[in-house]
Every structure is written in structure tokens, then in C-alpha cells.
């Protein structure tokens, strides 16, 4: 897939290189700033310098002295993965139906899904809390997984159905002519083609679960189920008034690095999925 120029002149390369640099700066400066804060000592925290004058690993040591943060990390990863998996699976089923099949209530389903995602979560928190408490789901993984699936589904359904619309379904017809049932055709022919779309939807849903703060702080009360964004508000400074800026920054770096690595590894997949339509161009 070459660009429109037939040759990659060094001038073009330099131009693109410059643009790349701007994008990287745009994306990374705030992240580097947090890294910088995480390495600063309490005394030099407010010296306003981008690069710390005095470097310390104390903040990182602090967040790992208790298992509070590590457990929160574990909770975050586990809950997000499970919720993403279930949401994407359910979303795939629904998206297939929406993209491929004709049935009454299709528009209604999509509309309702969208509206559900749009209702302010703030006012759903208290009723949800009461329901979960009565069911014994308060402060459990399930208690968070269920709302995450619910609010991740509209995103998953929308993304997946948009992808599924672009898949060449003739291949499916060909498989059916060869004798496969609808289910077999789906599994053997369509699924691999849908993979990039699934990856994209998974990432979007995962990041949604990963970032959520409101449900995490409202539906948990102990380290059993508390995720990282909520755990951040339990970090303490030296007294009730001091902001544990150093600890929070260190924790922020620890949870951002995996995301960066994850994105680095899968970016080709993600973008390939999004640009899969170009194959037909």
C-alpha cells in the first residue's frame, strides 16, 4: 500500500518524521510529566522543573510496601479482562444479528442500547448499590463485572456491527453452498475475518473498564474488589491534609506502562483491523 508518490524522497521522509515527532511529543509529554513527579522527592515536588533535580525511588517503594496497590492491580486486570471477554462475546452475537439479519426491533435494540449507555451513571449508582447489596454482590468481582458488561455492550455492539457490515459475506454464502450450516459458516469463515474488529472492540471495552472510577468507588468497600482508580483515593500522605502526589504519580506510572506495552504489541492488529476495509479499495 504505497503512498501516492512513486518514490520515497528523503524530503518526504523528513516531513513525515517531523509529523511523527509532533505526534509523539503530543502524546507523551503529559505522561513524562507524571513520570517526573513520581521520581521527585517531597521537597522538590513543587520546584516546577520538568526534569527532577533529585531523583528518588521512594515513591515506588511506598506503593509496594502494603499489598493494597498490588491487590488493586490484580482486581483491575481480572475484572477488566472478564468483563471485556463477556461483553465482546455477547456483543459479537448481537452485532452479527444486527449486521447480517433482518428482524423487527433491530433499530429499537440499537437505539435502546445507545440510550442505556447514555444515562448518567451517577444516578444509577445508588439503586445499583442497593440491588447488589441485597444479592450479596457488593464488594465482589461480579458486582463490578456486571455493570461493566452492561455499559461496555453498547460500545462493543456498535463497533462490531460496523465491522461486520464490511466483511465479504459472499464467502459465507459459498461455505453454505458447500454444505455448512449457518453456525459452521460463521465459525470457520467469518470469525477469522472478524478478528481485527473483535480486537478493536475488545480494546475499547477494556480501556473503558480499566478507566472507570465511579462504579469502582461506589460498589466496593475493601481490597477484595477495589480497582486501581478507586484505590488511588485511598493513598495517604504523611497527614490527612498532605496530598500523596508522589505515590499517586508512581502508581499512575505502574498502571500506564502495561497499557503502553499492550498497545505497542497490538497496534498493528488494531490498525490493521480498522483498515481492513481498504483491501476492497
Amino acid at each position: 500500500m504505497a503512498g501516492l508518490a512513486t518514490e520515497h524522497s528523503s524530503a518526504r521522509k523528513w516531513r513525515w518524521g517531523l509529523l511523527d515527532a509532533i505526534v509523539v511529543v503530543y502524546a507523551f509529554i503529559p505522561v513524562l510529566w507524571i513520570a517526573s513527579l513520581s521520581f521527585k522527592t517531597p521537597e522538590t515536588l513543587t520546584d516546577g522543573r520538568f526534569v527532577p533535580r533529585v531523583w528518588t525511588l521512594e515513591n515506588y517503594r511506598t506503593i509496594f510496601t502494603t499489598d493494597q496497590f498490588v491487590r488493586a492491580l490484580g482486581n483491575s486486570i481480572g475484572i477488566a479482562l472478564i468483563a471485556t471477554f463477556i461483553a465482546v462475546v455477547l456483543g459479537m452475537l448481537a452485532a452479527y444479528a444486527i449486521a447480517r439479519l433482518d428482524f423487527p426491533g433491530k433499530g429499537l435494540l440499537v437505539g435502546v442500547a445507545l440510550l442505556i449507555a447514555m444515562f448518567p451513571q451517577v444516578s444509577l449508582v445508588s439503586p445499583l448499590f442497593e440491588i447488589e447489596r441485597n444479592l450479596g454482590l457488593f464488594d465482589t468481582w461480579t458486582g463490578l463485572i456486571l455493570p461493566y458488561i452492561t455499559f461496555g455492550l453498547p460500545l462493543a455492539i456498535y463497533t462490531l456491527s460496523a465491522f461486520f457490515r464490511q466483511i465479504p459475506w459472499d464467502l459465507e454464502k459459498a461455505a453454505k453452498i458447500d454444505g455448512a450450516t449457518q453456525a459452521q459458516a460463521f465459525r470457520r469463515v467469518i470469525a477469522p475475518l472478524a478478528a481485527p474488529g473483535v480486537v478493536t472492540a475488545s480494546i475499547l471495552v477494556f480501556i473503558f473498564c480499566w478507566n472507570d472510577f465511579l462504579f469502582a468507588i461506589s460498589l466496593t468497600s475493601t481490597e477484595r474488589a477495589r480497582t486501581v482508580p478507586a484505590a488511588l483515593s485511598f493513598f495517604t500522605g504523611a497527614s490527612q491534609f498532605e496530598d500523596p502526589t508522589g505515590s499517586i504519580s508512581a502508581a499512575a506510572m505502574v498502571i500506564t506502562i502495561p497499557i503502553i506495552l499492550f498497545v505497542l504489541l497490538f497496534q498493528r492488529r488494531i490498525v490493521a483491523g480498522l483498515t481492513a476495509g481498504a483491501v476492497k479499495g
Binding site: L4, W16, W33, F103, K106, A113, M118, T150, P229, T256
Partner: protein, 302 residues
């Protein structure tokens, strides 16, 4: 012969419908089970005067809460602020996102690096990113404040605080816009672009006359999602200003009344109003601008 075909068709149709409902059932069930009662309860609460601190004063008052909220200056101030943030940030994100999408699509060097970088802001926990901006703009502590506004505290003035909130919002969610636009960008057929180039169109003309029109559905979907999300902004406002100096968004206002003020009646009313506004925005996009819903008539089979 014809009747047999018709019967076969309608049997197929019925099987298709059954399959469709079966496939959609789990997702629909989960969504309704979790949000059904809370949403209904919220609406029910909005029709009552109910303050948790004075439980004995609870009573049904119909639409009085709506009257109170809709005639209140704090509500309209927050509404205006939210609209401003939404419109400005989405507009800028569209332009920036388009640029990023193009770079991600056609970069000749460092494509992997650029694609990773673009997704990073989206993957960072929102509260953390907000803290980053807050410290960056605090005079003395922050590099941005020291660079651009060494004499004043930009977070304490309404205009500059709003600008910073908008900037923080843009930084965080442009990747989302870029991703959705990239999907649309990839659909633009190269042959069309080549033909236009052969006809002598400049890069800009190719962009405006060929790329954008083909991308229209993707652009509209991206705009729809981002607008709906932007209207409900909360985290950035909460961390950066706490809603001070009249920089509250409607979500902040709802939070203050519902969870802090424990006024379930008024808080639920605000939630319903936010929901209605968002629904109207979605309606405008879908019906008036013609955003294609995935299952809509211009979707379907090939």
C-alpha cells in the same frame, strides 16, 4: 410453484428472525437487567421531594422538581458551560483526529511508533491524566504554568480554567476520534484518489472532494459518539477545578446535588434532564444529519 417458493421464503424469514432474537437476547437481557430498575427508579425519584437527611418529608410532587431545576441559574450556567466544552472540544477533536488518522494511515516512517503514541492518551486512567494537567498548570509546581502564565493561576480564572479543561479533554479523547476516523479513511478507494490526481487535483482538493464525502458516515458516527460523551464530562472538571468559578458541568452539578447534597429528588431530576438532552442530541444526529445506525436501511447485506 410460486406458493412453494413463498412458503420457503417465509420459513427462512422466520428462522432468520428467531436466530436474530436468540443472538441478541443475552446482550439485551444483561443490559436491561442491570439498568432497567435503576433507570425507572431514577425517573420515579425525580417526581418526588426526597432528601435523605429529612426522610420524613418525602412526598410525591409531580413535575415540581423539573420546574425548580429548569428555572435555576446554576443549572443553566452549568448547561451553558457543558455545551461550550462539548462544541469546542468536539470541533477541535474532529480536525485533530482527522490529522492523526491521516498520519496513522499514511506515515512513511515510524508508523508503529506513531500508532502506539496516538493510542496512549486514551489508555491512561482519566483521573491520572487530569492530575497531570492540574499539577502542570499550578504556578510554581508546573512546567506549563511557569512557561505560559508565570504571573497568574490559570485554574482560578473562569475563562482560562475552561480552556484548560477543554485542552485536557481534547488530549484525552482525540485518539478515540482518530481511531473511528481511521476506519472510515481506510475505506476511501485508492483508485478514486489516483484518478483525481491524474485529473490534476491538488492534495487539498483530493481531500475535500473525494476523501471527506466518502468518509461522511464514519465522520458522523465519530461525531455522534464523541458529542454524547463530551456532554457528560465529569472527571476532568472534578480534578481540575472542582467546579469552582462556575466551571461546573451538568454532571458535576448532578453529582453535587445527588451524592453530596443527598437530594435524591433534585439529583434524579437533573439526571433525567441530562439523559433527555443526550437523547435529543442523538436524535438530531441520526435523523437530521443522517448518521447511519449500524442496522439501518443503508447498512444491511451485500
Amino acid at each position: 410453484m410460486a406458493r412453494q417458493t413463498r412458503r420457503a421464503l417465509s420459513e427462512n424469514k422466520r428462522a432468520e428472525r428467531r436466530l436474530a432474537w436468540l443472538l441478541c437476547a443475552p446482550a439485551a437481557l444483561v443490559m436491561l437487567a442491570v439498568t432497567g430498575w435503576p433507570i425507572i427508579y431514577s425517573v420515579w425519584l425525580s417526581l418526588q421531594r426526597y432528601d435523605l437527611k429529612f426522610p420524613e418529608q418525602r412526598e410525591f410532587i409531580g413535575l415540581d422538581n423539573y420546574a425548580s431545576v429548569l428555572t435555576n441559574q446554576y443549572w443553566w450556567s452549568a448547561f451553558g458551560v457543558t455545551m461550550l466544552i462539548t462544541v469546542v472540544s468536539v470541533a477541535i477533536e474532529l480536525v485533530l483526529g482527522m490529522g492523526l488518522a491521516i498520519i496513522m494511515h499514511r506515515a512513511l516512517v515510524g508508523r508503529g511508533l506513531v500508532r502506539t503514541s496516538v493510542l496512549i492518551p486514551y489508555g491512561i486512567v482519566t483521573v491520572v491524566a487530569a492530575f497531570s494537567w492540574r499539577y502542570a498548570w499550578t504556578p510554581g509546581t508546573g512546567y506549563l504554568a511557569n512557561l505560559f502564565t508565570p504571573d497568574s493561576a490559570p485554574l482560578t480564572d473562569r475563562t482560562s480554567a475552561l480552556a484548560i479543561i477543554i485542552l485536557a479533554e481534547i488530549w484525552k479523547t482525540t485518539p478515540f476520534m482518530a481511531l473511528l476516523l481511521l476506519a472510515g479513511l481506510a475505506l476511501v478507494p485508492d483508485d478514486l484518489l489516483k484518478a483525481a490526481a491524474v485529473d490534476g487535483a491538488t492534495a487539498w482538493q483530493r481531500f475535500i472532494r473525494v476523501t471527506v464525502p466518502v468518509m461522511k458516515p464514519a465522520i458522523l458516527v465519530a461525531l455522534l459518539f464523541r458529542t454524547l460523551d463530551a456532554f457528560r464530562i465529569f472527571d476532568n472538571v472534578f480534578v481540575l477545578t472542582g467546579g469552582a468559578n462556575e466551571t461546573s458541568s451538568v454532571s458535576m452539578l448532578t453529582y453535587n446535588n445527588l451524592l453530596k447534597g443527598l437530594n435524591l429528588g433534585i439529583g434524579s431530576t437533573m439526571s433525567v434532564l441530562v439523559f433527555l438532552t443526550v437523547a435529543i442530541i442523538a436524535f438530531v444526529f441520526i435523523k437530521l444529519f443522517g448518521t447511519a445506525a449500524p442496522g439501518g436501511s443503508n447498512g444491511g447485506r451485500r
